[in-house]
Structures are given as C-alpha cells and as structure tokens.
C-alpha cells in the first residue's frame, strides 16, 4: 500500500482559497475526477446527447456517490457495511413518496397501491411530503437516525469487523422483508413507479432528464471534494488511526465511538443522497433495492476500484455499472459470472483495486514477498 505519503502529507499553513485548492490537489486523482465530472456535466448541457446516454450518466453518478459513501467508512475507518443499500433505499423511498404525493396533489389520481389496497387516501405519514424541502430533510434525517441508532448500539458494544458486517447485512434484509409487506403504505412488493411530475415538470422530458443528470454529476463532484477534504483533515488522520489500531487510539485518550458514529452517520446521509438522485432517474423503487446481494455489490464496486482511495470508489462504481448496463442487455445470464470473475481477479492480482494498474504494480502480493 504505497503512495499514502503522497495522499496524506502534513498540511502546510496557507491562506483561504489557495490552501483549499492545495488540499484538493493533494489527491490528484480526486482533483482530476472532479474536474472530469464537471466537464461531463458541461458536455451534457452543451452537446445534448441522446436522453438514454444522459440518463445513464446520471445513474452512474448516483452509484458513484453511493460508492464514495461506503469507501468513507470501509476504506478510511475499517467498517465494512454490507447493508449500505438500506440508507440508499431510505433516500430513494422518501424521494419516491415525494414524487407520488406531488403527482397525486397535481393530478388528483390516487397512486396505484392506494387503489390496490382499497384505501381512500394516503396514510398519515405521507403528510407534508408534497413539500420538496421537507422530503429532503426527512430522507436525510431518517437515514441518519437509522444509522445513529444502529451505529450507537454496535459501536458502544464494540461490535466490529465481520460481526458488524453480518449485522448490517441482516438489517438490510429485515428492511427488505418489511418493505415487501403490502400494508406498509409504501408500495409493498410492487414498490412505487409511474412518477409523472418533478417540480411540476413532466418526468422523462429531455429537460428533466438532463437536469437530473447534471444535478447528480454536480452532487458527485461536491461529495468527492468534500470527502477528500475530510479524509485529508485531522479527523481523516484519526479515521486512519482508528482503522489501523483502534485500541492504540483509545489508549491515547480518544473516544473512538463518537468518531465512528459521526462518520457512519455522514456516510448514511451521503448514501441517502445517492438514493434521492437515483430514484427519479430510474423511475421506480421497490424492495429489491434492499436485497442483500445489491448491498454486497456496492462493496464490490469499491473493492474493484480500490479501497481507501475515494477516486477508486468512483472509478469502480462507474466501470462496473457501465459494464453491467451493457452486459445485462447483451448477455444477462453471464453477468453474475463476469462480476464474480472480476472480484477474483482483483483480489488475486490487484489487491488495491484497479488503481494498482495506474501505479503499475502488476506483481500480486503473493509474488511480492513478505512486506505489506
């Protein structure tokens, strides 16, 4: 794992914008990727490619945000969540509720599941969801609340490592079973779809598709830069210290529970943001998004791109999902095998993910000898 001296050198005192710029430039990959992401957004606006391509770029950006949220806790804090789909789904579901409530308020046609259940109107907890800012606060707040309760219980009891991963997986599974119930008032096993309006504009029109894609790309760039500033800060160094030797950090007088809980909740909020951006672009949400295999796949993106490098998470998410978009259409039955093969290849040949290719370290660990 070389190259870290370049990633986290000592901050030098500089002033204002110059200092900020220098801190972003410290991880060149993040700086390059953020510029490229904003460049792509600008190209979409200027060139206006086909809506399919615009939509794909927007969805990939949402997945990349999700990957960054996981890399923040896994790569920099050593907490492997195999249930990050939960926070993604919280964001997605609340966003879908807003879209459904908004369309209902404008058109007066009750949503499918209300008719299906024989209800007269939406359940009480849908109140106020026509208001977009409230929906946004609710989505992020709910994700943070769930993360806080689960994180507090786990970190205080010092549930770590593989045990935490398994419990996080169980949590997302429980959530999936809950959402498959039809009486939750959240769409049941069919989920929610048929979103007709976004802020009053017709969903699926080229302008809305473009707007969503640009918003997703801008959010990705902001999340990437923000996360990069965080991991380059003193807090980021404490995160790495906690990841590598939590007992050592505790015995130096740092309460690690608060640190872990804070970053864990931040990660959940970022994952929820990804869900909020994803759902209007894909046009549907259903309990499948809470399936354990999907949550594991998020970890696969990060592992393939490179754990503990924010740029790696973005590249991994984009490459794997672009491949998935293409191959699930071209040869759907082969996709699980290709994904598994990719994981094996990365684990055996590129222990730090695809970023190893960039560093031209093609010699796998088992050929390199003893050093880590």
């Amino acid at each position: 794992m070389s190259g870290n001296a370049e990633t986290f050198p000592v901050p030098r005192r500089r002033d204002g914008a110059a200092r900020l710029g220098a801190r972003i430039a410290r991880d060149p990959l993040v700086a390059i990727l953020s510029a490229a992401i904003l460049g792509i957004a600008l190209c979409l606006v200027l060139v206006r490619p086909s809506p399919y391509l615009v939509n794909a770029a927007g969805q990939l950006a949402a997945f990349a945000i999700l990957a960054v949220s996981l890399d923040l806790v896994w790569g920099y804090l050593g907490i492997l969540s195999l249930g990050h789909g939960l926070f993604f789904a919280v964001g997605g579901y609340v966003c879908a509720m807003h879209l459904v409530a908004h369309a209902y308020a404008v058109t007066g046609i009750p949503p499918d599941f209300v008719q299906f259940m024989g209800w007269k109107t939406l359940p009480w907890y849908w109140a106020g969801l026509t208001n977009a800012p409230y929906a946004l606060v609710l989505a992020l707040g709910l994700a943070v609340l769930v993360a806080f309760v689960f994180g507090l219980a786990s970190f205080r009891s010092r549930v770590n490592g593989v045990y935490f991963s398994i419990i996080s997986q169980a949590l997302v599974y429980v959530a999936m079973l809950l959402m498959f119930r039809n009486d939750t008032g959240l769409g049941g096993n069919n989920g929610m779809t048929g979103f007709s309006l976004l802020f009053g504009w017709p969903m699926g029109s080229p302008g809305v598709t473009l707007g969503l894609a640009v918003a997703s790309l801008a959010a990705l760039a902001a999340v990437l830069v923000g996360a990069s500033l965080l991991v380059g800060s003193r807090t980021g160094r404490l995160m790495l210290a906690c990841r590598d030797d939590e007992t050592r950090l505790r015995t130096l007088g740092y309460g690690t529970t608060r640190l872990k809980l804070g970053i864990w909740c931040l990660s959940a909020a970022i994952a929820a943001l990804a869900g909020i951006l994803y759902v209007p672009q894909v046009g549907i949400i259903n309990p499948r998004v809470l399936a354990p295999d999907l949550s594991i796949e998020i970890a696969v993106w990060v592992a393939i791109g490179g754990i503990g490098r924010l740029g790696g998470a973005v590249l991994g998410a984009v490459l794997v999902n672009a491949l998935k978009f293409w191959l699930t259409a071209a040869m759907p039955e082969a996709w699980p095998f290709i994904l598994s093969g990719l994981v094996l290849l990365v684990v055996l040949a590129l222990p730090n993910g695809l970023l190893d290719l960039a560093a031209l370290r093609l010699k796998p660990t088992w050929l390199r000898g003893g050093t880590r």
Partner: protein, 236 residues
C-alpha cells in the same frame, strides 16, 4: 507518594486461569519500577488492567482518587496514563509527525502541537524521519516513535511493555538513556522487560511476578540473590 499508582488486591481470571491473583503493588511518583517474571506471570495482564483493556474480577487501581478499573480506556488516558505496547503499535499509514500529533491527545490546542511535536522528534531521535510513513520505519524506530507518542501528552504514569524487545545492543543502550531522561518527580514509570541488564540500568526497584502474585520486591541485586527468584527463572 502522591501521584503514584496504587494497585490494590487485583485479581484477573480468564476461565479457570488466574492471571493475576490478589496482586497489590504501589508505584510511586518519581520512581522507575520494573516488573519482571517468566512468561505467563501476568505482566502484560497487569498493564491491560491499568490501561482499561481488561476488566479485573476484583480489586482496584487507584490514581489519586480515581479508580481506573471503573474507567474506559480513553478516560484513563486522559487522566494521564499512557502505555507503550509490547508489539510496537504505531499508525502505519500516517507519518511520524502525524503519529506524534495524535499522541499529543485531543485536549492540546492545535496551535501548541507543532512545537511539542518538534521537541519530541528530537527527544526520540527521529527528526530526520519526521515525514516518513510510520509503516516504513525499522523495528527500533517504531519502538522509539511509540515512546514518543506515549510522551507527547506529558503523562503522569508511563507503562512500557518490553521497550527493548528485538533491539540491538546499541539501540537498547539508547532506549535506556531515553527512559532515564523520562524520570520526573511527578511521574511514575512502570517497565516490563526480560532484558535484565536493561532493567538494572533503568529501574529503581523491581517486582518479580510469578503466577499472578508478587514473589519479590526490592533492588535488582536482591532479586539476583533471592533463591525463589532464581528457581522461578531457571525453571523447575
């Protein structure tokens, strides 16, 4: 006597094994105390209890009015107790300087940190290595870095678990000089070590631990002459 560490009737049980058996020990401020004993005598367990990693079955560890057995690790550290682990425990992905900055603790103002770190780099002889990633240091350098991290908060109690294990003779001599320099009237230092020449060089008194109990307490010369100590060390 004030400011020292008072260990009172401490018992630690792992299943059916008594790692510490009603152990009492007082380490005074201003003193360097060595704890020696054969493998399995309970030396590291003793440090684990003092630093809050292991909970005792019974007994107390008093630092002033504070019972450390009731505190979390971070609280114990904030009370002024710092420990160097047997296996050099530094943060491998951070630079030497960043490791020392973390060692300063959360309470030292950010403005005061650079000066403290610079002084520490000199104390532990790593000034030239300040920006090297700690994972790339040699074993001896890691030992010194960890001692530096432990010193960074100016602790009242320092616990050193085998600080010269795996070091060359020259490095051991340098570490002995370093520990001599740590001695202060308001500071208690507890050293666990197998290297008897090193113990003789740094310690005021030694406590010989055997099967979780104190076998001998006093000067090193007395320990060498004590028949029970000789028997325990030379085997039965």
């Amino acid at each position: 006597m004030s400011g020292g560490l008072a260990i009172d009737a401490l018992s630690v049980v792992f299943g059916r094994f008594r790692a510490l058996d009603d152990l009492s020990l007082a380490v005074d401020a201003g003193e360097v105390r060595a704890v020696i004993g054969p493998n399995g005598a309970g030396k590291t367990t003793l440090l684990d209890v003092i630093s809050g990693i292991t909970r005792p079955k019974s007994g107390r560890v008093m630092l002033g009015d504070l019972d450390l057995t009731q505190c979390a690790e971070a609280e114990i550290a904030k009370a002024g107790v710092r420990r160097k682990f047997q296996k050099p425990s530094v943060f491998p992905m951070l630079s030497v300087r960043e490791n020392l900055e973390i060692g300063c603790g959360a309470d030292l103002p950010a403005a005061a940190r650079p000066a403290r770190v610079t002084a520490l780099l000199g104390d532990v002889g790593l000034s030239a290595r300040a920006d090297v990633t700690a994972g790339r240091l040699s074993h001896g350098e890691k030992q010194w870095l960890e001692i530096g991290m432990v010193l960074a908060s100016e602790p009242r109690v320092i616990l050193l678990d085998e600080p010269v294990a795996g070091l060359s003779d020259a490095e051991t001599a340098r570490t002995a000089a370093l520990i001599q320099a740590l001695r202060r009237p308001d500071r208690a230092i507890l050293v666990i070590e197998h290297d008897m020449a090193f113990v003789e060089a740094v310690a005021d008194r030694v406590t010989v631990l055997h099967d979780g109990r104190t076998l001998y307490e006093g000067g090193m010369a007395g320990a060498r002459a004590d028949a029970r100590v000789i028997e325990v060390f030379l085997g039965r």
